[in-house]
Amino acid sequence: MIYKTFRFRTLIYLLPALFIFLTFNVIPGLTSLVLSFFDFSGFETNLFKKFVGIDNFIKIYEDKYFWIALKNTFLFVFGAVFIQTGIALMLSIFIFFGNFKFSVLIRSIIFFPCVLAPVSVGLVWKKILEQDGVLNAILGLDFSWLSSISLVMWLIITVNTWQWIGYNLVIYYAGLQSLNIELLEASDIDGANWSQKIFSIVIPLLWPTTILNMILNLIGGFRAFDIVYVLTRGGPAHYSEVLASYLYYYSFAAGGPNKMGVGASVAFIIFVCILTIAFARIVVMKRVEKN
């Protein structure tokens, strides 16, 4: 009886959250999936009027900009997962063991961009990277950074890293504070040098924190949109498009193709990517816990 009451009450308490989850996550997600098989411009009241099978998927398969967007998305994810996490790890170790007088201030300064809206960050960096911007003024150049096909994605990655590195750093710092210092003291007695202590003790001990940071950056990387949109709007000529901005272009862009069905199929591909990663995360985390 108690068990039954508990179950009923639990259900009651869960209902609001469940309702919100179903209304704003599950139903729109499923609708979007179904929509990817329909020709829908976005204006029609009847979303599911014209079934086109897998035509939308064929369309993006044949569009070279989709492949550019896919490649850029993976590049962005690579930057977020490896470069951003790597720099955050090095910085956190440097600050933690550096015993700086103003270490709190240093951490606050590095963390500061995280609290800024990505749109503001994008606008500021756009000003910096413009042809008549701050960077060229400092370097004495007249170079168009954001219109360079080969550089534009790396610049976006740099800006993104600059903004979010503080977030990873704070997580690492918490990990470092919970490290068993006795191990380091023991290694001192054994005559280990700094690099041995960092690479053989600290970094391996921080492995669970690293995994956490990598997963957070991985998921964030796949969802990247705002920084790309503000900095380049996917340009020049779609060469800095990521999947989310490519989706937006097909669905909403002024003077764009007006094909929300195609946009939905891109959304489905993003979903599949994230789902795959979510499963991989579970497997990796289980292994980490096991070890």
């Binding site: 411009s41 204006f43 979303l47 168009s144 709007r233 340009g235 020049p236 007006n258």
Partner: protein, 430 residues
């Protein structure tokens, strides 16, 4: 628990009843993309004031979005059946989609004789209707053009062309080089918005159109004629010449027109601004447009050669449609009718916005306007010459042409490849 739930429901019901009693007025929602265009905003404030005074108990809620974000609002609103009573639609493919979805009232049937009289010849403008019916009521009109600062042109040692004439591509290259030597740009250009590229292209093609007034670009988009013809090739080459010679800066390719290019032109970083239009008369720098002196010259797109005929891009700007599912259809129609009235046209003009219904306003009075830039805008609209269609429905070929030109700017594709691609995309079979 039950009592609490019951009391909550009662409170909720009472709140709803009370709010509906308080809000007894009828609300007409009007939405467009003219955020930042002072002339439109000010004119609409007057329209709303008059409309609300003429219709007691009615309130008009006017919301403006930017051009780039407008569809983020409109699409979900219309597809969910929650569309505003009156709304603007981008001319071109969007009109087809919105008309086909049954969202717009057929104004050919709904407009009375007086309204049709005000609209005059505008009724026949293709961008306003589909299938022989009128769906959109035009608000403002413009000539798409290039604006230059007179003093900067003089400083660079060039002469301004006669009114109605324009510089050639080669002249722009020379101006661009002279400007570059002084750390300036020849033209500010914002091609992130596709129309800034496609409309200029349409003008270039029309200059070379031996079958004018036949719309050859429309035929090419439909795959009826080959893209491998001098008029298309020359148009692409004109763009390539302008870009490769640095008439605009390289990082224009990641620049939008409305904010960045315009902002930099206002800051006098460039001599001219490409693909501007009369819609910005009310936003022009005040120092260069005083009743005593006009420091800005407007001209059409670059001429391919000295022999090219005068060719203009004249069109309507914001076009309003009435939601076929509006709960207040009659009032919505009344409001749109008001915006097309002679009084509304004079109001537009008073705020430096060229009204679409020029037939409904006193041209002599307009010519005496203290707004010199506005006067030139009116004059330009009345200038004799070829008129270029800039609104097309062929979304897919337009996308590919835009992408092709942008890639040509980047140097990753050639004129030949763009032409070949366009023939393929449009299905031209030869």
């Amino acid at each position: 628990m039950f009592k609490l739930f019951r009391n909550f429901l009662i409170a909720l019901l009472l709140t709803f009843s009370f709010s509906s009693i308080v809000r007894s007025e009828t609300v007409i929602r009007v939405v467009d993309w003219q955020s930042g265009v002072g002339g439109i905003t000010n004119a609409y404030a007057d329209f709303i004031e008059k409309f609300e005074a003429d219709h007691p108990g009615t309130k008009v809620e006017y919301t403006q979005y930017t051009v780039t974000t407008y569809n983020e609002f409109l699409k979900p609103a219309l597809s969910s059946g929650q569309g505003p009573d009156v709304f603007a639609v981008y001319p071109g493919p969007d009109v087809d989609e919105v008309v086909n979805a049954g969202h717009l009232v057929n104004l050919s049937e709904a407009a009375d004789a007086e309204w049709k009289g005000w609209l005059g010849n505008n009724i026949n403008i293709p961008e306003l209707g589909r299938n022989g019916n009128l769906y959109m009521a035009p608000q403002d009109a413009f000539t798409e053009e290039i604006w230059v600062y007179n003093d900067m042109i003089a400083d660079l040692g060039f002469e301004l062309p006669a009114f109605g004439d324009s510089y050639t591509v080669d002249e722009w290259v020379a101006i661009g080089k002279a400007a570059k030597a002084k750390g300036l740009d020849g033209l500010m250009f914002g091609p992130v918005e596709s129309w800034c590229v496609l409309d200029g292209f349409a003008n270039f093609v029309n200059q070379q159109n031996n079958n004018y007034p036949t719309d050859v670009l429309g035929q090419a988009y439909d795959g009826e004629i080959s893209w491998d013809q001098p008029m298309f090739r020359d148009a692409l080459n004109a763009y390539k010449t302008l870009h490769d010679n640095g008439v605009w800066r390289a990082d224009s390719l990641s620049m939008d027109y409305q904010v960045q290019a315009w902002g930099k032109w206002i800051d006098r970083e460039g001599v001219g601004i490409y693909c501007n239009g009369d819609w910005f008369i009310s936003s022009a720098p005040a120092d260069y447009n005083t009743p005593d002196s006009l420091g800005i010259t407007m001209m059409s797109y670059p001429k391919i050669s000295n022999d090219s005929p005068a060719t203009y891009n004249k069109a309507t700007g914001t076009n309003l449609g009435v939601n076929a599912n509006s709960a207040n259809l009659d009032l919505a129609l009344e409001f749109v009718k008001l915006t097309n009235s002679p009084w509304a046209s004079s109001t537009f003009a008073g705020y430096g916005q060229i009204p679409a219904n020029l037939a409904a306003v006193d041209m002599d009075a307009l010519a005496a306007s203290p707004n010199l830039l506005f006067n030139d805008g009116i004059k330009m609209l009345a200038t004799e010459g070829r008129n270029t269609n800039i609104y097309y429905s062929q979304a897919e070929p337009m996308k590919h042409l835009y992408d092709g030109i942008m890639e040509m700017f980047l140097g990753v594709t050639s004129v030949d490849e763009v032409i070949e691609k366009m023939n393929k995309v449009t299905g031209y079979s030869g």
